[in-house]
Amino acid sequence: MSKSINLSENLKKLQEIADWFDTQEKVDIEAGLVKVKESVILIKECKIRLADVQNQFNEVKKEIESTDLITEVVIDEEIKSEEKVSSNEMPF
């Protein structure tokens, strides 16, 4: 559910509502109520999304902090040299 919430869009809409209130010389109580109801939904959605974002961010942080898992240097591979010289040849 919270993934479908677009935080930026919601914040933009909240900004518009806040601006609307700012620009009203005399706020109409009915129109104001509609805006307030809309803002309550937007704020609730924002809070849900922000909590989700915060959780995801905390998990990412934990993951980053736990990446240094190397505790010991080891030889990953030991290979044998290839024989370059064949001594079976007798050039007499």
Binding site: L11, V27, E77
Partner: protein, 424 residues
């Protein structure tokens, strides 16, 4: 050491017997010192030479394959005292025993020093050690090729100091001691070329000129100089720096120093990554916090605005109460007072009117009464005659002989009726 089973019951062909001999001879690897008495280099580069004891007549035919000869870095000459390492072998086509030398080196410290100086000069003149030939180490090497002996402290020192940077380390075990190491080192370098590595580290501890001879070998030096990726030489010194170390892109004296160098390459970027990571995490946390603050700000702003409406309405209500209601109350009170006053006035007025009317009516009635006062005509000379208190209005009300009471304006008198007459 040289043992052939009692096979007298078996029959061999010459080839089979020579094979039998060679199988027995091959494991006999020995080190022989002698003086070169003959040298013959064939057209295909193989070297045939004879060694002889310095103070004896014993001789040994030797063979040095072309690539081994090239690896040795020696220019074999008659009279040169050399040490060879190898094993005997019988060549079937001639039935002749030869010593197959795997390694050859000049004998004597003086000879080695001379060879070292000569080769150093030659390679210096070629520009093999020139600084401008040196390649920088990769910024963040990941795959590290290591050529050293896996036995001993060197590899452990290296691994203990390289740091936990997720290196992929590929090791090729090689002998690093003496001339015998030349072949191992050469093969190891050749094999390492096929590996996908970012940097090659060649290591061994310090030692004598002789023990480090492989690292002064021309072939090894050239392979290091031309290696496909930068080479770190962590080779201990003899009196001089080995030629391999001079040819390497970076030379350090110990495996720990080589490990530290690789560690340092990662340390700084690692710190940078940590700083950048912290920056990103902090900035993003701030972004989240700002969004949270913004939401709260909007919440407060919008609810504040809406609360203001109620507040305004309350003010309005107060205003209504304070002004309109009070005024209305005042008006009402006035009205009440007015109504009250008006009622009283109306009552008075009504009463007055009624009084007036009554008075007028009274007057009127008084007038009427006055006008109709039966005594009023008396003043004009009329009189009222009554008999037995009954006013006489007709002749039939009286009879002769009655005593009539006659009332006049200013008194009355009694009169006796003597005649009664009617109108005509």
């Amino acid at each position: 050491m040289f043992m052939i089973e009692d096979n007298t019951n078996s029959q061999y062909t010459i080839s089979q017997f020579i094979d039998l001999l060679n199988n027995q001879l091959k494991p006999i690897e020995v080190k022989i010192i002698g003086e070169v008495t003959t040298v013959n280099i064939s057209s295909n580069g193989h070297v045939y030479f004879t060694l002889k004891d310095k103070d004896a007549t014993a001789v040994l035919d030797c063979i040095l394959w072309k690539n081994r000869y090239e690896l040795s870095g020696i220019e074999l000459m008659i009279g040169m005292e050399v040490m060879v390492i190898g094993s005997p072998q019988v060549y079937a086509n001639s039935g002749k025993l030869s010593f197959i030398a795997q390694v050859i080196e000049r004998v004597g410290e003086g000879a080695l020093i001379e060879a070292y100086k000569k080769l150093k000069l030659k390679l210096t003149n070629e520009g093999l050690f020139a600084q401008e030939q040196k390649r920088p180490l990769p910024k963040l090497p990941h795959s590290i090729g290591v050529i050293t002996s896996k036995h001993g402290a060197v590899i452990h020192d290296f691994l203990n100091n390289i740091g936990l940077h997720g290196f992929k380390i590929t090791l090729i075990d090689s002998r690093v001691e003496g001339q015998e190491a030349i072949i191992d080192l050469s093969q190891a370098i050749c094999s390492m070329k096929k590996q996908s590595i970012d940097v090659l580290v060649i290591m061994r501890g310090g030692g004598s000129l002789q023990s480090l001879a492989a690292f002064d070998n021309e072939s090894i030096v050239r392979e290091i100089a031309s290696f496909s990726v930068p080479v770190i030489a962590a080779i201990g010194h003899h009196e001089d720096v080995t030629l391999s170390a001079l040819a390497a892109d970076v030379q350090v004296s110990t495996p720990t120093a080589a490990a530290n160098m690789l560690h340092e390459l990662w340390q700084q970027p690692k710190e940078q990554v940590t700083n950048i990571t912290n920056q990103i995490l902090n900035k993003y946390q701030n972004t989240i916090q700002k969004a949270k603050d913004l939401v709260m700000e909007y919440k407060e702003s919008i609810t504040g605005h809406y609360s203001e409406i109620f507040s305004n309405y309350k003010d309005f209500e107060h205003m209504i109460h304070g002004h309109v209601i009070l005024k209305y109350y005042y008006v009402l009170t006035n009205v009440r007072q007015f109504i009250h006053q008006e009622s009283v006035n109306r009552i008075f007025r009504t009463f007055e009117n009624a009084l007036k009317s009554s008075s007028q009516s009274l007057y009127s009635h008084q007038e009427i009464i006055s006008l109709n006062d039966p005594l009023r005509p008396l003043s004009k000379g009329y009189s009222i005659v009554s008999v037995h208190d009954k006013i006489i209005k007709s002749i039939y009300d009286i009879t002769v002989g009655d005593t009539a009471h006659v009332q006049i304006n200013d008194g009355s008198f009694e009169s006796s009726v003597t005649i009664v007459k009617g109108k005509k």
